[in-house]
């Protein structure tokens, strides 16, 4: 079953705006603030009240909306999406928002997360004669909406959403309204904001800051917002459950300037670094972070320990997706790619290298070697999260535990494998404490599945949901 899910997994960013004179431009700028969540494809669909119009393409937001394509998208509402590069489900047809036209009107869907029971729902729908256009799990939602016999779109949306298992922050748009939903556990971030009277939703609050919108609040687990020209109304499609927000959004995925449930990501990461300083004692000359996501933790660690923070590693910013990779031979002869060490900073020094996580261990091994080749006398690897031991089924591309170095090795074996002088992970408790959701007024639950193996939902595609007799037989 694990293999089956590989390639369906995706991390993405969604954006929606209703009631603005220039919704396509706002989406364009908003998607820039979400671009780190997905670089494979981007799309914007607008409505002017009578029809939906789409521009989508493979590549970055900048590339997709060149040559005046944005100007064609006139209307008063829009939904946008940036898509993560996965090996399996590439192709322009999978670029979101998905658009479905029928003789009775259009339907746009933008989705972040992963629907665990998508394959079973799809097979079931195909047996009833449905033809799928994409290999995306998201399309299942469109067919469930279409199949429903209920009269109002709102009721059909609730019925369809109840059939989905997994993680989903989703924005659905017709010519007449926008429907914004969170999965029952609220696993992926999704926030509501306001901009000059228009309603805005986005995966991260950094999108609000970039366009000058004000944050209102996070979307609740199991909540369905209906936004139209009459305003924004909140409904629920399932009973309230505990939130289980993805912890890795705090640790490495979100932008440092985003907040989730009122907690700023940079500050949370800096606290992770300070917590690390509490959990270990180390004798070293310089602290350096692996750019970009570990910089905040490294600064926190430096501040707490007093060991000076330096730029020991430089990111080669222009190594983009069309970069011609050096051959194995060239790489062994010292040709660098994404990172270069700063020789004069690390030469003859005992270096603390702060990183946010270790997946396969190959990158860590390469960086440790790079630092030692540049003259570091000792390299102490310090990770601002616990060992990653279990696959994620909710949209982050860690899908098989056979790839996870921590799933198959002790910490000392890992240290040996990556060639470090010491290796320290943060404790689960320390991480949760440092992130500080307990200080947040609302529910403070984390999804810790990748660390602990305790999944907040069923993870088997063939587990039937209680509501399932409703629509899918």
């Amino acid at each position: 079953m694990l293999a089956e899910l590989r390639g369906l997994n995706e991390e993405c960013g969604v954006f929606g705006i209703w009631g603005h004179p220039n919704p396509a431009a706002m989406s364009y700028y908003g998607l820039h603030a979400l671009q780190h969540r997905g670089q494979e494809g981007a799309g914007i669909i607008v409505t002017d009240g009578t029809r939906l119009r789409a521009v989508k393409g493979e590549g970055l937001v900048n590339d997709v909306f060149n040559n005046g394509k944005l100007e064609k998208l006139e209307g008063h509402a829009a939904v946008g999406h940036v898509r993560y590069a996965t090996s399996g489900g590439s192709g322009i047809e999978n670029v979101q928002p998905l658009l479905f036209n029928s003789t009775t009107g259009g339907l746009a869907i933008a989705h972040n997360g992963n629907i665990v029971n998508a394959t079973r729902l799809k097979r079931n729908l195909e047996q009833q004669g449905s033809i799928f256009q994409t290999t995306s799990d998201t399309e299942v939602l469109a067919h469930l909406l279409k199949k429903s016999n209920l009269a109002s779109f709102e009721d059909r949306a609730k019925q369809a959403l109840r059939l989905l298992d997994g993680a989903f922050a989703v924005v659905i748009m017709t010519e007449h309204a926008m429907y914004v939903a969170q999965d029952p556990q609220g696993m992926r971030p999704l926030s509501l904001g306001m901009l000059d009277g228009a309603y805005v939703v986005a995966s991260e609050t950094s999108a609000f800051d970039l366009i000058g919108a004000e944050l209102v609040r996070s979307i609740d687990p199991g909540e369905l917002l209906i936004i139209n020209d009459e305003g924004c109304r909140s409904e629920r499609y399932v009973e309230k459950k505990d939130r289980a927000i993805c912890t890795m959004e705090y640790v490495y995925f979100s932008r440092p300037d985003s907040d989730i449930d009122g907690i700023n990501i940079h500050m949370a990461r800096k606290r992770l670094g300070k917590q690390l300083a509490k959990e270990l004692t180390i004798d070293a000359d310089v602290v350096t972070g692996v750019p970009d996501s570990s910089i905040s933790a490294a600064i926190g660690f430096s501040e707490a320990t007093g060991i000076p923070y330096e730029l020991g590693l430089i990111k080669n910013r222009y190594v983009g997706r069309t970069f011609i990779q050096p051959s194995q031979d060239l790489r062994e002869r010292g040709v660098k790619m994404k990172l270069s060490p700063v020789r004069q900073v690390v030469k003859g020094k005992r270096v603390v290298m702060v990183d946010d996580s270790i997946v396969r261990g190959t990158t860590s091994r390469r960086i440790v070697k790079m630092l030692k080749d540049a003259g570091a006398t000792e390299v102490h690897v310090v990770i601002s999260s616990p060992p990653l031991k279990n696959p994620c089924f909710y949209g982050i591309d860690i899908s098989s535990d056979s790839e996870l170095i921590a799933a198959n090795n002790t910490i000392d074996e890992m240290r040996e494998l990556i060639g470090a002088d010491s290796l320290t992970f943060l404790s689960v408790e320390g991480m949760v404490e440092a992130i500080g959701r307990s200080d947040v007024e609302k529910n403070c639950g984390h999804c810790l599945a990748c660390f602990t193996g305790e999944y907040p939902t069923s993870i088997y595609a063939d587990t039937k949901l209680p509501h399932e007799k409703e629509l899918v037989r």
Copy 2:
């Protein structure tokens, strides 16, 4: 005369390699490490001993060398170039290295800097019947080489170089040899390295690190290296003078992982920040740097003052050259572009904002406003260099003093204009001291012209050089 020079000015990066089985690939990787020096165009010319072959194009290195173009460039030596975006002299014909073919052989030239007397030399050569292909000052050198009656190419190179006034780090390549020269003051950085027996030259040592080459030394002012299959020989074309290296290379232009004359850029910038802490007293809650070039100075300032360093400003990395700029109206309504503030970091805080320089002041004003809009109670602007009061004629795009805010205002007026609570510049002496060239064994001279107005060469295009009767009448 100032206006005439506008648009000719350019900051660029050069790269050369001789005696390597895959010179084009090495140049490709090397140019990535120099990409920050110029993003308008890129080119590589190789020789296989019988002919020169070029691939050039507008845009980034990644874009120019796509679709297998690199593989066509077989040979054992190459010269490469990245070009800075200037308004005037754009166009594919100006992309370097320039290539000149004649019935007696080819000639490639890559140049970083600016030839002050180019316009006069060009007019003179045209009167003698020369036809120029480009609007680049660099082409003058090719015509001077061609016009010379001297027998050996080396003598012609020396004769031609003596006629040039200004700043130039230049790599010339024929089918048979590479000629590498520094201007008589050594104003632009240029270093020699070795890679598996091949000779490498580059504008910055970060290019050596990226390809795994070893730094040998800087090229001396007035030096001409002749590199061919028999080795590398050092000559001089003028008497030795004091070096006058561009100070802004340390302050903001070079990569943090590059060294100039043995001084690492990141470390120099951190010392600039520490020096600032010595020169002023400030009461504040957080220190933040304007990314990317001011991060090192901000860290140094934080370390010296004990005020915590935070990510108060985030760079929007995906805002590339094809980004659709928000209209004035949208910008006023809060749409950000290159930078976003981190609200939770600055809200209710007294912020020290460290930047490397102020040119027109408009960017500083925008950032100060951004921080205040995000809730900063005070913003103290601290600049890690002295006020920029004079234009540069040597290749950095600050060409008219009417644009320089510091040329026309007192510091207090500037503070008022940018809306800061305080504004402090580093002293010239403090800057020179902090950079630390006095500790370097070789000559320690700076070009400080943009700060002090004392130019190390003639800056008037019609000033004749003593050698000028040699070739140009």
Copy 3:
């Protein structure tokens, strides 16, 4: 109802090959011979027995299959398509062959013709929950195939085909077999050939000649061929009816080197010209044909009358789809586009201008004026078919009779409108006689609907077919 059909209409070319080591290349060459049937888009789908792989794109065959795209299409069978440019249904999603993937396998469909009852079938299927991907009438067939509960694909194909009303020459391909069908009247041409043991089907026999295949025979009306690794088997899905082949295929649409039911197009057109010579008497100096489709008729007319045939009109071959049309003002000032007159041929001459048909009359008027401006003293327009008075519902883009000049004017009014000195159409009987299908052994029926208004099928989208209760309610 007529307006509703506009834009669905299309003329196209289909190609299929089964059992060949290089089916994609054969399709590529075959589609070149069909390119005149459609220039908006092209596609090839191959099967290697386990999956279907597609390359499709907008533009000409040459443009779509550039940059090595063809080489990716490995397999032993392929289906290809060229698509006609219509105003309404453009867009990459409508480019054929359509490809449908499901968890139980893939399905490719290439279609030439027009399904008259598509809109009603589509609405019906949507009410049952189907989601359509395209605006093409062809997609209906895929959904009918998918909805069927019958066990074998062959039975599902027969059931689905029985539900279609209109004209269709269609090639369906799964991983395991190719299904080739003609509509019950055999309205569009479709032939079977053999190439080195492989089975080939194509809209025109010119595709066989170009790849060196041997013609076997035409596909019969109501026939369904099943081609797989065991060979080629002929089935019927409806009772045999009289053939009603589109007469315009002979008159102007097919290539001169194609044969339909054993009759060569060039020879048929030459006989149309000779028949014209029998039906009228004319005193003139030169005969000229409107290139390219009327050349054969003009030669026949010249041969029969003895009036010399000359190149009085030259086609500007390089006026392609990206040609910048001259403004109305420039056109009035004499800027030509597709045709130029040959002044020295027509100057001072009485010219017979042979054309194959008159649709709106605007082109004829322009050519007559062009010839007169070039000095022709008289222009006698001679048309090698009868007046076009009725719209076509079977795939030729003449969809509204309000556009047809012959539907609303007498012949003399038409002559006046186009500015000719005389205007003569061929008689219906003369045309049928000259084409010569009565000499063909098999059924010799024509569709003459556009001339006579007698349609061989129902033309109303809401007329239910007898079999329709089978699958569509």
Copy 4:
């Protein structure tokens, strides 16, 4: 020396217009009528009286001037060029019109023909310090113009033109005037026309017809027209000589709707066909021409002999420059490329195949085989010109006599090699008689060098011209 010239040779088309409100659009349309003369590249340069602006590119006129590029070219005069695809001198820098900018103004040159002494002139100029940008022989003219010390541009043009040996129809444009010149023998066609008061020049009169301009006259051998806002003035730069117009322009190169010196190309070719009928007796069933250039001769032959003319060969029009050539294996298995036979026309018939010339013989052999494979019982090849035995040094790409089948074989050997049942060439006298220049009032001389070996100019690059001491030493 022959080898040296290979690759320099080119057939091209030039166009110029002075005094028109939309010169770029007129050039664009005019170049379409000349597109058959060169498909490798195209360019237009305009002047608005103060500067020259160029758009140039590789490919067809349609491709080069897409995306609104034409609209940028505002002014009142323009010069345009289409370039023939040669193997050697490709590359964007060789696309004409060539543009040279200097501090004293711009210079545009468009050239059709070949300068025989270009290599020697170039070497000489390089020795004096000139740097060449292109590998085109045309650039020599620019350097000669630049080197001259004479005061007026007109005098410099005359001086420079006198130094050129070979064939050249050339249009030179500065910001202030257009200079149009013919070589001393008038070897390439070049005509003057008028359009709404503007002066127009073009390689072929078909360009005048397409834009609605009136033909005035041919440019005389040795004539220099100076066209500016004051009108058009005719000068001579050498004494009048006999004209030696390229005969192949009549036989196969020019468009059928063009006239040269008042003789229409289609009519001339038809007379060549009739002349052939006089010179041989043949018993056959059908006549067919090799499209497109031999159609006129085939019609003439048919008319004179009474053997019916048929479309026995069809050109595959969509086989463009990006066409993927069939492999040798596929070609042997019958895959056609540019031409297809019409089986039903030739099957069981004795076929006369009319072609305009035989160069290497490989194409003829392929067509004869194609016709026989399609069932022709006999194939009689009839050529509407004499055997091609000598290379052309004046711009037509037949550069080495080792390639010419007629240079090395008797007619019977050639017949054997191409597999024909008979092979007949037209006599030189018959050809000259049929073309009919003797009826033209002005000089009626032909260049017959490729047939007879008598060249009208020196053909050796090192033969010095009498004027040469003037400028080139």
